[in-house]
Symmetry: C2
Subunit: 242 residues, 2 copies
């Protein structure tokens, strides 16, 4: 079973204060780039793998999806999600994504935001999602970018001659990365870009888009500190199609 860091008090409290938790999708800088890859929601059956507080679930429903199913490991997050909206077209369930099985050809879109870097067996997940989608349907997800998480000590470094740079080491040594973010000992799974993409292709997906997210010039003008996001990508957005 995946580590349930979201239900530890320190992590949950910290996560709840992030802009993406208080403001929802519009509080996530990468949301406009994700939206460009999403199909029209009207009439779709949608699954959100790692739905958290349910921001995307509610958005998809408001955009016209007929049924939206959100899965998450965190009881705390689902409790808040359920409290936000009661709607016959929305369903939430606790699930460990390492084991989850969905009914065949039952969804028109699979979505996941910043969740799969906690999953050990991405190949299994890709095959399961492929089966759960109707032919022609899209699978759009984001993960922490492997450039961001590869290093044993991910964090800006200053070189002797005063350059600010990001360290890359162990990129091709895949597996567990343990970092302190909001809480101590957060366990993530590092995979190369190639491994993630090849897992989708092996499952049968056609790749549609790979976006290594960076802020737009307008976003940097509004928040100059984001300029450093041009130096190394933090978020990888992938769109594939069954």
């Amino acid at each position: 079973m995946a580590q349930n860091i979201y239900d530890t008090a320190a992590f949950f409290d910290g996560y709840s204060r992030l802009r993406r938790s208080t403001e929802g999708l519009d509080g996530a800088a990468e949301w406009p780039a994700i939206q460009e890859l999403l199909p029209d929601m009207r009439g779709r059956r949608v699954v959100d793998l790692g739905c958290g507080f349910g921001w995307f679930v509610r958005w998809a429903r408001a955009q016209g999806a007929t049924h939206v199913q959100g899965f998450d490991l965190s009881e705390n997050m689902l409790a808040r999600a359920r409290a936000e909206m009661s709607d016959a077209g929305v369903e939430y369930a606790i699930a460990d994504l390492e084991q989850l099985e969905l009914p065949e050809a039952s969804f028109d879109l699979a979505y996941s935001s910043l969740t799969f870097h906690y999953i050990v067996d991405l190949a299994r997940m890709a095959r399961m999602v492929f089966r759960a989608l109707r032919p022609g349907s899209h699978f759009v997800f984001t993960i922490e970018h492997p450039i961001y998480m590869a290093s044993a000590q991910p964090g800006w470094i200053l070189t002797e001659d005063g350059r600010k740079t990001w360290p890359i080491d162990g990129y091709s040594r895949e597996g567990q990365r343990v970092t302190d973010w909001l809480a101590k000992g957060v366990v993530k799974q590092h995979r190369t870009m190639g491994t993630t993409i090849n897992a989708l292709l092996a499952a049968g997906f056609a790749l549609r888009n790979v976006t290594e997210w960076h802020p737009t010039a307008e976003q940097i003008a509004a928040t100059p500190a984001w300029d450093e996001e041009m130096d190394r990508p933090m978020i990888l957005i992938i769109s594939a199609q069954r």
Copy 2:
């Protein structure tokens, strides 16, 4: 026109002494990984974009390709390639890949090794190669990995606490990178993984495999210094299909 660094004396002399120049394909550590992505050569019409000394051209012909056409910007390299083998099934021509146009649906395989990172307009190249391939044909190429070439000063650094790491900066700032390798002022074009992959998809290709090359355990056992290649990828191998 792309910089013709291969015809400067210092670069040509240095390049001619590399193992991949003296020993050919077997002198390139990534060759076994490339071979896994190549189709059977028998009966194929093959084009090699940036063929250099013609090692791949001769290999493809020896494997049964009926016609192999090699293009390169360097007169020095093509002169040596021509001197190596005279064969009715092999043809060499000087070409600037930025402008090259190939006849439509005239090849069964397009190949390129460590060349496209010199090309400014990869999107044009991808569209041109797509048109030049018969439906179902493969396009297999390698480039310097963008993680390897992104930084303003690519090279191992030692952190204050003694860790050896590779710098990443400017990853999302695409464009020219000037480095000193064999000669001063070698001009390369940095593109993100996403930009390269999306250019192929936009041209109509289906992506088949993305390999961020690293040495195998056997290769590291034979050449222990290669262990550092596990820390950051140097070569990106991509297979796509029309």
